[in-house]
Each structure stands twice: as structure tokens, then as C-alpha cells.
């Protein structure tokens, strides 16, 4: 195998066109196969490809920066050797003042947005370049991508992410046990007590057809000693930020308050909230279109040890036997006591009682619950920097097409127009043809070619 640079075969591979292309193709294939490949294999393959891509990107970006800097430096010296093509030769009568023609050409080039470049000492003519900042486009774009990859890695290593559920009136104190689901990266530190708040109300708005339009959670921020500090709201697009901890809204549902009594036994005096903790949580199943919304959950009644399953329908239509909308117009519980063949089912509207399989239930009311995602991570500013740099680089790359021209005056009174551009030869040809036209030569004799 022949390396581009035998002294550094590793960096040769990292920067090789085939390797970069292969990585991009493998990454696209891996992403496409996410739902069919085994998760462990997919995750490890993705990490390996991203790591290789990071190294390759870093290596290529360094070379691109060096190359752009070298181009800039060479342009600013008079000894720069320009790659030239697209030759047009113009001639003037012997009486013409060629120095004036050259001055006019310089002015025209300035009008076209070119800036003059230094010329070598024995050279009679001028050099100019345009949009050379476009050379920075590719390195800046790739550097932005590099930062994005770095930020993604930093976030996944330092992030803590948890989900919690609060019923109206409950307080969140950022203790680990309050999270239903909790994940943290290997470099993360948990943040107990950085944020404390009480959920006062879940406020939902409904469309005319009864579907939920939006919802927000009104919360009271609490100080470390538990005193109310401020009232605020957590809504979609408006998370609560407390230092490095951010609390996002998630979903909301209902927690019916039901009083149970086992027949022929002493009645339980206090209402039992059918509440939000893992075995009691009312699941949000987002009802199908036209069926209204359902919230389901199950519960083992402690005295009778019977399993009780509830379906809460905010707007129950007894004629149709199903929910109609998500607005709580006729809150109703569909109750199942027991399991399998012994299960007994019944309908329990708000404020009424029902007895099934020896278990008496009073539907006393309902409260809303809301779930929240609590996140803290480092690396977000790096992510933003990556976004901005990659967009800036892409804009430079796309909008600025570097090109340069060289006008050489021969002792025979001919002006040779040459130029170069890797990215936009058509634009260069247009510039040269406009220049030739505006200079008003006696006989513009055009010939396409390269020198």
C-alpha cells in the first residue's frame, strides 16, 4: 500500500478522501439501520464511527486551516505564483496610452469588488483578487462540525437527566428518590437541592372541539429553607432555568381521588388520592382521534388486596360508551375490579358511588398531575459555538467564490487577461469578459485555454 505521507501513515489514512467518504457512507447506513440493528451493536458502531470521524475531521480541518493560511500569505507577497487560466488578449493602437489603460483596468477591477495584490518587481501589469475570505469557508465549516461532535460527547458525558411527576400541591426538592427515571453520564455530578418548587396548578386550554390546545404548570419557586421565593410558569418553549438546572414541561394527566371501603369492614375515613407514584401513576395514553383522551392506571386496594384498574375519561358519553373529548366536561371512571374471568366492570361518574366485587368506591374528585424533565449539562455553549461556526463556514463557502486575475502588459502593446478560480470558473470568465468589454479594446481577440 502506498501512503500519501509514508512518514505519517496514520494521519495519511485519516485525511484520505476514501476514508472520509467511507465514514460518511457508514454513518448514513448506521443511522438508516437504527431500528433494525441490535441496540448494543448499533451504539458501539456509532460511537466508533463518530470517534473516527472526529479524528479524521480534526486532521483534515488542521490541514485546511494551514492551506488557507498559506494561500493568504502567498497572495500578500509579490512573489506569489498564481494558477492562471482563461486567457484573453486585448490589443490597442500604438498611439494608446497603455499606462492609462492599466489604471482604468485597476479601477474597473475595484468596481467589480477585486482588491489589488502586490506584483513582482520586473512585472508590468497588475494582480487582483476577490472573495478570498471564501478560502476560510471549508475550514471554518469543518471546525464547527468538530465542535458539534465535541459538544455532543461532552453533553452525553456530563448530563444528568431525570423525569419526575407532581400532583397539584406537591413539592419537588430535587432528591434522587423523587425521580421516576434518572440517567447520568460518567462525568456527571448529581445536583441535589439546586432547584425546589411546588406545583400549584396545571392550567390547560381546550379547543372548541374539546381537544387540548396547550397546557402550562403554575409553580412557586422555593428557597433552600422552603419559603416561597417567586411564582412562575413552566410551559412548552418556556422551561424553568435555575443555574445549570433546567426544568422542562412534559405531559399532564389526572389523578382521581377515590374513597374505598370493603363491604362488611370498617370504612376507610380519609380520601385516598389515586396518585402519581410508580405503581399508582395514571398513565397518559393519548386517546385515538375521535375517542377523546383516556388515562389508565391500576392499583392494589390494600385492605382487600384486589387489583383495581381505572380508566379516567374527562368527557364520557354514556350513549356512545366512550370518551368524547379531552376537556373535563363529564369526568367518569371506568372501573375494573379483579382480573381475568373474575373481573367485574362498572362506570363511576364524578360524585357517585359504585360497588363491585364487594369493594365500594366513591369518586370524590380529581386533581391534575404534570411530569417534568429536569436536565443539567455542560457543553451547551460549545454546541452553540459549533452551530454558529458551521453556519458561518457554510455561508462563506457558498456565498464567496475566491478568484483572482492577472493583467500583463507586453512591449508590443497587448494586454493579456488571465485569471484563476477553482470554485467558480464561470464567474471568473464573466468577470474577464466584462472587463475586456469595458476596457474597449480595438480588437478583442478571445481564446479560451489555460496557461
Amino acid at each position: 500500500m502506498r501512503w500519501r505521507n509514508p512518514k505519517a501513515p496514520f494521519s495519511s489514512v485519516l485525511r484520505s478522501r476514501a476514508f472520509v467518504l467511507a465514514l460518511l457512507v457508514v454513518l448514513a447506513v448506521l443511522l438508516a439501520g437504527r431500528s433494525v440493528l441490535p441496540l448494543r451493536f448499533w451504539t458501539s458502531s456509532l460511537l466508533a464511527v463518530l470517534a473516527a470521524l472526529f479524528l479524521s475531521l480534526a486532521s483534515c480541518t488542521a490541514v485546511q486551516f494551514r492551506s488557507a493560511a498559506a494561500r493568504f500569505a502567498s497572495l500578500s507577497t509579490s512573489a506569489a505564483s498564481l494558477a492562471l487560466s482563461c486567457t484573453t488578449t486585448l490589443s490597442w493602437p500604438a498611439s494608446a496610452d497603455l499606462a492609462q489603460v492599466l489604471e482604468q483596468a485597476a479601477q474597473l477591477l475595484r468596481d467589480f469588488g477585486y482588491r489589488p495584490l502586490p506584483v513582482p518587481a520586473p512585472f508590468t501589469g497588475l494582480r487582483a483578487a476577490k472573495h478570498t475570505a471564501g478560502w476560510w469557508g471549508s475550514p471554518v465549516f469543518h471546525f464547527g462540525l468538530l465542535l458539534l461532535l465535541l459538544a455532543a460527547a461532552l453533553i452525553s458525558l456530563t448530563q444528568t437527566w431525570g423525569r419526575t411527576v407532581l400532583v397539584e400541591g406537591e413539592t419537588f426538592t430535587d432528591r434522587r428518590v423523587e425521580y421516576l427515571v434518572f440517567r447520568q453520564g460518567p462525568w456527571a455530578s448529581f445536583h441535589p437541592f439546586r432547584v425546589k418548587f411546588r406545583l400549584d396548578r396545571v392550567e390547560a386550554t381546550y379547543r372548541p372541539d374539546g381537544q387540548v390546545e396547550d397546557f402550562a404548570s403554575a409553580v412557586t419557586l422555593l428557597g433552600q429553607e422552603g419559603r416561597a421565593v417567586a411564582a412562575t410558569s413552566i410551559a412548552g418553549g418556556h422551561p424553568l432555568r435555575q443555574g445549570e438546572v433546567t426544568v422542562y414541561r412534559n405531559v399532564f394527566g389526572y389523578a382521581p381521588v377515590v374513597r374505598f371501603a370493603v363491604q362488611n369492614s370498617q370504612e376507610r375515613p380519609a380520601p385516598l388520592p389515586f396518585g402519581p407514584r410508580p405503581t399508582l401513576v395514571v398513565l397518559d395514553t393519548l386517546g385515538l382521534s375521535g375517542e377523546g383522551e383516556k388515562y389508565t392506571g391500576s392499583f392494589v386496594e390494600p385492605t382487600s388486596q384486589k387489583k383495581v384498574s381505572f380508566t379516567f375519561l374527562p368527557d364520557y358519553d354514556s350513549t356512545a360508551g366512550r370518551g368524547m373529548s379531552k376537556a373535563p366536561k363529564r369526568p367518569t371512571l371506568l372501573v375494573t375490579v379483579g382480573q381475568d374471568a373474575l373481573a367485574r366492570q362498572g362506570v363511576l361518574p364524578l360524585g357517585q358511588s359504585l360497588t363491585l366485587a364487594g369493594l365500594s368506591m366513591d369518586f370524590l374528585g380529581y386533581r391534575r398531575w404534570a411530569s417534568f424533565t429536569v436536565v443539567s449539562c455542560r457543553g451547551v455553549s460549545l454546541l452553540w459555538a459549533g452551530f454558529l461556526l458551521s453556519l458561518t463556514g457554510a455561508a462563506l463557502l457558498y456565498l464567496l467564490n475566491p478568484r483572482w486575475v492577472q493583467l500583463t502588459l507586453s512591449p508590443e502593446g497587448q494586454l493579456c487577461l488571465q485569471g484563476g478560480s477553482r470554485r467558480a470558473p464561470q464567474l471568473l470568465a464573466e468577470d474577464l469578459s466584462r472587463l475586456a468589454e469595458r476596457l474597449g479594446a480595438r480588437k478583442p481577440e478571445s481564446e479560451e485555454g489555460s496557461s
Binding site: R17, V20, L21, L24, V25, L27, A28, L31, A32, R34, S35, I155, W161, T205, R207, E213, D214, A235, G236, G237, H238, P239, T246, Y248, N250, T373, V375, L383, F387, S390, L391, A394, A395, L397, Y398, Q426
Partner: protein, 285 residues
């Protein structure tokens, strides 16, 4: 008030569909049978269609009180509108590219036909949608489609032009619409410029979408199918640009890769919603 606006908007949409159909047929006939003068009529019909379409979308926007990009009806209608605007801007700048209508207009007609077959019911969006990140996300999604459709069309026109140039002179019809088109290398270069614009727009779409997702749900990236497949389409366009730059891919091979990117983008936009239930599907279906 809103009801009568929606009725008028639906009628305007159907009129636009009719004009798009006529324009598509004329562009196609002009290019296939070399009837260059038909371009004038096709161009006028496109202007008329665009005027009706703009009025329809304007009414829709006013009636809904938000950018019309919610549900299949609005999403595809506005996609087509942006694609036709991109094409119109291009032919104003370079009238010799008029024959590109033979690619852009039939695709636009099919997509707007697909849009108006969906329910035109005015859906209200959640309040969390009223953020400028969403507007940026949606607008750049549409610009991606417009730029990549035009870019892919130019690529294939370049391929056809190249084949035509390679034919013996006796077989290559002269005085046809093809003569008006620039040579294949110019078409190929323009195609690359538009795909580059699409690549940039898709990057902005992905970034603004992830910022919005973070604000709404606390996560920049959720591995949602539409997100993932849009990223794949972006990677394919990245591969396209690398293939052109590093391996000098031009012509047919480049046009195939550009078409693959466009197909993936459309699959992400609509096809996925039909296969998997996802967060985006309720906005597209």
C-alpha cells in the same frame, strides 16, 4: 369570517392546481417535442398559477393565524410554493433555464395534487408552536426542498444535454428548446450550487429544529425517525459534495446521488409518517 376565507382559499388552491397542470404539460411538450415557443405560454401559466397559489396561502395564513405548514394540505402546498418561487427567481435571473420547468412543474403539480387531496380542515397548533425557531425550521425545510428539486432537475437536464451533444448532428434536433439551454458543464455547475444551497438550508433546518426541541422537550436530539432520516439526507448531500470535490463526480453519477438525497428528504417528510408513528407525523399527515 374564517370559514368563508377557508372556502375561498380552497377554491383558489384548486384553480392553482389547474394552472400548474397546464403549465407542466406545456413545459413537458416544449422540451420533448422541441416546441420552444410553448415556453412563453408555459411561463405565463406558471405566473398565473403562482398568483392564485400565493393568494390561497395568504388567505390560509390569515385564517389560521400562523405559518401554513400544519398537516399534509398545508405542508405540501407551501413546499410547492417555495419550489416554484425558487424556479421563478432562477428563470428571471437566467431566462435560458426556462426548460427546467419540464422537471419542476410536473413534480410541483403532483405534490400540490397530493396536498389538495388531503383534508383542508383548519387545524389549530399548540401554543408552543408560536416561536420563531419553528418559523426558521419550517422555512428552511421548504427552501431545502425548493433548492434540491431545482438542483436535481438541473443535474438531469445537464445529463440530457450532454447526451444530446454527443449525438451525431443529424440526430440532434436543432432550433429546439434544448438549444436555448446552456451547455452541460454549466448546468452541472449550477446543479451543484443549488444542491449546496439545499445542504446549507437542511443544516439550518436541523439545527433550528433541535434548538426548538430542546426548548420544548429538554432534549436537542431524540432519535425520532424524521430527525434521523433528515440527518441521513443531509449526510447524502455531504457525500455528494465530497464526491464532486474529491473525486470529480459530474453528470449522471452526481445526478443520481442528488436524486437519492431528494428522495430521502421527501421520505423523511412524508413517507416515514406513513410507516412509523412519530412526533412529526401529526404535522405532516
Amino acid at each position: 369570517m374564517s370559514g368563508s376565507m377557508v372556502t375561498a382559499e380552497i377554491a383558489l388552491h384548486w384553480v392553482a392546481v389547474g394552472f400548474y397542470a397546464l403549465s407542466a404539460v406545456l413545459y413537458f411538450v416544449a422540451l420533448t417535442f422541441g416546441k420552444e415557443r410553448l415556453h412563453r405560454y408555459a411561463s405565463s401559466l406558471t405566473w398565473v398559477a403562482l398568483a392564485f397559489h400565493t393568494a390561497a396561502l395568504g388567505l390560509r395564513w390569515a385564517a389560521a393565524g400562523r405559518i401554513p405548514s400544519y398537516g399534509r394540505y398545508e405542508t405540501f402546498s407551501s413546499l410547492v410554493w417555495v419550489a416554484v418561487v425558487v424556479f421563478t427567481a432562477l428563470r428571471l435571473a437566467r431566462p435560458e433555464l426556462e426548460p427546467l420547468g419540464a422537471v419542476v412543474m410536473p413534480v410541483s403539480f403532483l405534490l400540490i395534487g397530493f396536498a389538495v387531496m388531503a383534508s383542508p380542515e383548519l387545524k389549530s397548533s399548540p401554543r408552543s408552536f408560536s416561536t420563531y425557531w419553528l418559523v426558521i425550521h419550517v422555512l428552511f425545510a421548504k427552501l431545502t426542498f425548493g433548492a434540491t428539486l431545482v438542483g436535481t432537475g438541473l443535474g438531469w437536464l445537464g445529463v440530457s444535454q450532454e447526451r444530446r451533444a454527443a449525438r451525431p448532428i443529424a440526430l440532434a434536433a436543432t432550433g429546439s428548446a434544448w438549444d436555448k439551454l446552456p451547455p452541460a458543464p454549466v448546468l452541472d455547475e449550477l446543479s451543484c450550487r443549488f444542491i449546496g444551497l439545499g445542504f446549507l438550508a437542511l443544516a439550518v433546518m436541523l439545527i433550528s429544529g433541535s434548538i426548538w426541541a430542546n426548548l420544548a422537550w429538554g432534549s436537542y436530539w431524540g432519535w425520532e425517525p424524521v430527525e434521523t432520516w433528515s440527518l441521513i439526507a443531509w449526510l447524502v448531500y455531504g457525500i455528494y459534495l465530497h464526491l464532486r470535490r474529491s473525486y470529480g463526480w459530474r453528470g449522471r453519477r452526481a445526478a443520481w446521488v442528488a436524486s437519492l438525497g431528494l428522495a430521502l428528504f421527501l421520505f423523511a417528510l412524508w413517507g416515514l409518517g406513513s410507516v412509523f408513528d412519530n412526533q412529526h407525523s401529526r404535522y405532516f399527515q
